[in-house]
């Protein structure tokens, strides 16, 4: 398997990266043409930096994870590059930051490949990672360092830097779940231990209840519905893949529904989210403004879009971060937005294939977890922006503005690549 991959690899990855570069470069040029009717003066430096960064990522993959899945980096490069172009068109200052974050993200990607030589090594640190994950997830609650932005308390402020620890927490917890579930799967699998089913179920309820409680704490204390949903979906998906049967997803779903219902009963911010999801139109100039403006943006874009820098997505609050998909829908149209969805679908397909081909259950489960994070997170935010789901404040991986998100997702991709490359030391 790996031999076959390696043979096809040398050409595929590089040429795909080139295609991504051409698309991003063209988008960058078009954006400038749309804004000032002239080609960007820094088109060449931009392309050099883009290819430089993505080239580093590619070479690091070839060097430290030979035989790794070659298509992943080009797809991520495309999303990251396109996100940068849209952010640059919305706000020059944010774009400069995003470029820095992307560079740091690529470094983190290389660093992860260098440090994590074998995915199985991660198992050793599972309790440390669990603790880190929980601490990172709950850190914003701590007074002094936690900061509330846009109604959600999911930021850490350290000097001039603010950081969204939840982005890294999801990776730590995915590793922990993978390790924990690999070990406990035989116990948790329904019907695996006849005669002691009750005991098995009682034991199983432990971690499930823990994950449930954690997600509710995030929802209630941090008012971060998106992370709460993502985190719980991640756990249930991994539990189901590890054990099989529909009992756990069912129990998990019911528990989450009950928790959500009580949260909805008890907390104004949850009620508000649901209300504007069901009908933002009656509150078009107050709470519903963001969603209504996003809908108008999509409508303005139509099938082919207004063209980069030719629309007015600046009207949408938080358009560079959570609502970036609405800007893409407006300026690149249904065609461009569908392409972005297709890119995420491809990542999911590739990630699941990596999971299926991984050599050990831990690596399989980890790949499932990491892929689920990207898939569920993109569905949650795109669904929120298009009003398929209640809008929650999470980022669109690789595309949205935000350092924590970009860095964490590059680390996530590095881990997926490590799993796909197998254990052979470089």
């Amino acid at each position: 398997m790996n031999v076959a991959l390696r043979r096809g690899d040398s050409g595929t990855g590089l040429s795909l990266l080139l295609v991504a570069g051409v698309i991003v470069g063209a988008a960058y040029a078009l954006s400038s043409l749309g804004e000032t009717a002239s080609l960007p003066v820094n088109l060449l430096p931009f392309l050099l930096v883009f290819f430089g960064l993505m080239g580093i990522a590619y070479l690091a993959m070839r060097r430290f994870a030979p035989g790794g899945e070659p298509t992943l980096v080009p797809i991520v490069a495309l999303l990251n590059g396109l996100g940068y172009v849209v952010i640059a068109r919305l706000n020059r200052d944010l774009a400069a930051n995003q470029a820095t974050w992307t560079a740091v993200g690529v470094l983190a990607f290389v660093g992860t490949l260098v440090v994590v030589r074998r995915a199985a090594d991660l198992e050793r640190y599972r309790y440390l990672l669990m603790l880190s994950g929980i601490l990172l997830l709950l850190a914003p609650i701590a007074p002094g360092i936690g900061v509330t932005k846009n109604g959600a308390r999911l930021w850490l402020q350290m000097g001039p830097f603010s950081f969204q620890p939840g982005e890294l927490a999801k990776i730590c917890l995915a590793i922990f779940f993978a390790s924990y579930l690999t070990e406990r799967a035989p116990l948790l699998t329904p019907g695996a231990l006849p005669g002691s089913a009750l005991a098995a179920r009682a034991r199983a309820l432990g971690p499930l209840a823990g994950a449930w409680a954690l997600s509710l704490i995030v929802m209630v204390m941090e008012k971060d519905l998106g992370s709460s949903a993502l985190f719980f979906a991640l756990f249930v998906a991994m539990l189901w893949v590890a054990t099989g049967g529909y009992l756990w997803p069912l129990v998990g779903g019911v528990m989450f529904s009950i928790g959500s219902f009580f949260a909805w009963m008890a907390f104004g911010h949850v009620q508000e989210r649901v209300r504007i999801w069901i009908n933002p139109w009656t509150r078009a100039s107050s709470d519903g403004f963001q969603l209504v403006q996003a809908a108008f943006a999509f409508a303005a874009g139509g099938v082919v879009g207004t063209g980069l820098a030719r629309g007015t997505p600046q009207r949408i609050p938080a358009v560079a971060t959570d609502l970036v998909f609405a800007a893409i829908g407006e300026e690149l149209g249904l065609v461009g937005a569908a392409a972005v969805i297709a890119a995420f679908a491809l990542i999911v397909v590739i990630g699941m294939r990596i999971a299926q081909r991984a050599e050990r259950p831990f690596e399989q489960l980890l790949a499932v977890g990491l892929t689920t994070i990207v898939g569920v997170q993109s569905c949650l935010i795109i669904g929120g922006v298009t009003r398929l789901l209640p809008l929650t404040g999470i980022t669109l991986p690789f595309v949205s503005y935000g350092g924590s998100s970009v860095i964490a997702n590059w680390v996530l991709v590095a881990l997926l690549l490590r799993i796909s490359a197998g254990d052979k030391p470089a």
């Binding site: 009717a37 999509f298 409508a299 099938v303 937005a337 569908a338 969805i341 999911v348």
Partner: protein, 486 residues
């Protein structure tokens, strides 16, 4: 486990398909509904918030400009001179559209009409179009003097350069402040708009070019011209001195002179004292067909091609109309009553025709457009609108109008050291005991630089105090004096 991984991938795949469906609903199925939603102000806001050039007068007074504002519209339109220039600038409102120069020059101000010669690539991607500044022929100093001379009386003043058609001043009273209509709070705009709409004095109406009045005796200038153009034998005819003129086909009705006076003589005599019986007789001698032709030559029944929106046409009965109106119609029309109506702009153009050797130049506000950097992009080229009468007739009528100002009804229009030509009018309004006070004039008579029409509406009484010579002439005198820098 691989089985379940595949199924999880499939579940996420279904989720992505749902996203595509939701996206298609927004961008295709519901797109036009969303775009036409009344709450969707994207298009409006974009045009309202895009950069817009300034408007200034020929002497450099800024009368409309855009400042940066920190709300969703990004720019706030300002009218630094407010109400005095509103009849010229008009307004620009998010809710109620635009009027005046703001509407007439919208494409120029926004840069909407691209200059030719731009390469196509540039046009394709041009979004921040190059706005252009507009400089009007209006002279701010003269405009202010005209506004203060008219004061709070209802009426209008139009002053223009007869040799180019360039508007020097255009005042309408009562007027309005356009600033509240450009406010960004839609509630405030609505309140201001409703207030102006419900005001019985119609402050939003630019009377100078959109309201018609009976022109009264100022129309006798056209009748006199008609006599020269259509009946050479009339120019030396002495009309009998009468108190009233009996009219055939009127059931015993007759036409009276102002204040019950008796008057007669040559056309010059008739014009000097504004003799109704005499000028009506001239009109009857000229005939209805010829009177219609002359009025149309002077611009009646034509919308003046001024670069302002919705200018009103003035009216004089047509030849077929006179088949119905018969002699009484011709007689009353010849003295600017009954079926005749004229805008102040039209009457200024009548004066300008006599001043400019019979040629009416196209009236206009535009002097030139310039780029943001100040370089002139295009300059208005004066053009002839129509030939009202011959040079000889214009010269003859000019002499009569000089006489009117020197020793006739318009002595109050005199300017020391400058020869003024003028004609007064005191038009019956149809409402008992009120009349409109008119004056049309130009100066200096030898080489006219300004032609003017002044109307002060609905003067109480029909005595001497309400006449054009008393009420309108001093206003015209002040404005012409200012325009000539005398």
């Amino acid at each position: 486990m691989n089985d379940r991984i595949q199924r999880l991938g499939l579940i996420l795949g279904v989720a992505f398909c749902l996203l595509l469906a939701a996206l298609t609903r927004l961008q295709v199925v519901d797109a036009s509904k969303l775009q036409n939603d009344p709450r969707n102000t994207r298009g409006l806001t974009e045009s309202f918030s895009s950069d817009r050039g300034s408007i200034q007068t020929i002497d450099g007074t800024l009368i409309a400009n855009s400042d940066v504002s920190n709300d969703e519209f990004k720019r706030q339109r300002h009218y630094p001179e407010g109400a005095v220039f509103a009849p010229v600038t008009g307004y620009l409102s998010f809710t109620y559209g635009a009027d005046g120069a703001e509407r007439a020059f919208n494409d120029v101000l926004t840069g909407g009409a691209l200059p030719k010669g731009d390469d196509s690539l540039r046009q394709l991607f041009q979004k921040s179009r190059h706005t252009r500044d507009v400089t009007l022929t209006v002279n701010a100093a003269v405009q202010r003097i005209a506004a203060s001379a008219l004061g709070d009386r209802r009426g209008a003043v139009v002053a223009l350069d007869p040799t180019t058609g360039g508007i020097i001043a255009m005042v309408s009273s009562p007027t309005y402040d356009p600033n509240p209509l450009s406010a960004h709070s839609q509630d405030a705009v609505r309140t201001a708009w409703d207030g102006l709409q419900n005001d019985k004095s119609h402050p939003l109406l630019p009377r100078a070019y959109r309201e018609s009045y009976p022109p009264g005796s100022t129309f006798k200038v056209v009748t006199a011209s008609a006599a020269f153009d259509h009946g050479a034998d009339l120019t030396s005819k002495v009309y009998p001195t009468l108190k009233e003129l009996p009219l055939p086909h009127s059931g015993g009705r007759s036409l009276h002179n102002f204040g019950g006076e008796r008057c007669g003589g040559t056309i010059a005599d008739l014009l000097r004292v504004s003799c109704n019986t005499g000028m009506a007789s001239v009109g009857l001698d000229v005939g209805g067909d010829n009177m219609s032709a002359e009025a149309q030559a002077f611009g009646f029944d034509n919308k003046p091609p001024i670069d302002l929106p919705a200018a009103a046409a003035s009216h004089f009965p047509t030849a077929p109309d006179f088949k119905r109106l018969l002699e009484p119609g011709i007689a009353f029309s010849s003295i600017g009553q009954q079926d005749v109506s004229a805008t102040p702009l039209q009457m200024a153009l009548v004066a300008s025709a006599i001043a400019n050797g019979g040629i009416i130049m196209t009236p206009h506000l535009m002097d030139h457009t310039s780029s943001e950097k100040g370089s002139i992009l295009s300059r208005y080229k004066p053009s002839e609108w129509r030939t009202a009468t011959s040079g000889a007739t214009a010269a003859a009528v000019k002499q009569m109008m000089i006489d009117v100002a020197r020793r006739g009804t318009a002595t109050r229009a005199q300017i020391p050291g400058i020869t003024v030509a003028a004609k007064t009018g005191t038009a019956q309004t149809g409402t008992a005991n009120t009349s409109h006070a008119w004056l049309i004039a130009f100066a200096p008579a030898e080489a006219p630089k300004v032609a003017i029409a002044v109307i002060v509406e609905s003067q109480q009484g029909t005595g001497d105090a309400a006449t054009g010579g008393r009420v309108a002439a001093p206003i015209a005198q002040q404005v012409m004096k200012a325009a000539l820098g005398a």
